[in-house]
Amino acid sequence: MEPEGVVNALSRIHKALKKEGVLLDLHPAKPFATVEGAGVRSGALDESDFMQIVAATEAGLNETLRLGLFALKKRRTFDVVERFDTADELVDAVAGWVGVSIPNRVAERVRASAPPFDIRERVLLQRFQVL
């Protein structure tokens, strides 16, 4: 979604929230997600295009702060791990994700690895207050 679309959506959400209501935003953040086999890092995904989408979302969120709709109150990052039964399932899943790809060398490393097959992704959680 373009920043203008994000601002439109957040304006509607703002209207639906009570005074002093809370907005929670959870979305992926940099650095790029990593692939692990047997607990050993195989490499990183290429999320260059996806992070442009994230940046557009963040730009829209920032615009709503500038417009005085919300105020940032809390912010924290943490890791989310997705575990796959097989390395092929991991590689196939990434192939279906928008704006994300797995470099060939990383796919080869994880296929040569042993379970568990994980993708570790950094996530940003933000709490905003309605103004």
Partner: protein, 98 residues
Amino acid sequence: MGSIKDIHGAELQALTSVIDFTGLRVLEVGAGEGRMTTRYADLTKSVVAIEPDAESLATAQSLVPPELEERISFRLVDAAELDEPAESFDAAFLSWSL
């Protein structure tokens, strides 16, 4: 065969560290297949989960356990066309959605 997202439950742990859902009426925006919805709905008063993709919404509805059916309602709508009554929610949750 398949995958398990957030195998360590980090998302719910993080969410509940920044908000107490008790008694809150929550709007979840972009609920997808309801992966997050059923994890926190039992902590709330109610959840209205909106999702623009009909197939994902149908999956989400089918995965709601009986004990949460009265607490969660789903609507097929995009956030850009949201038209809920003014000041009707205590919290809104954007779950990997905008």
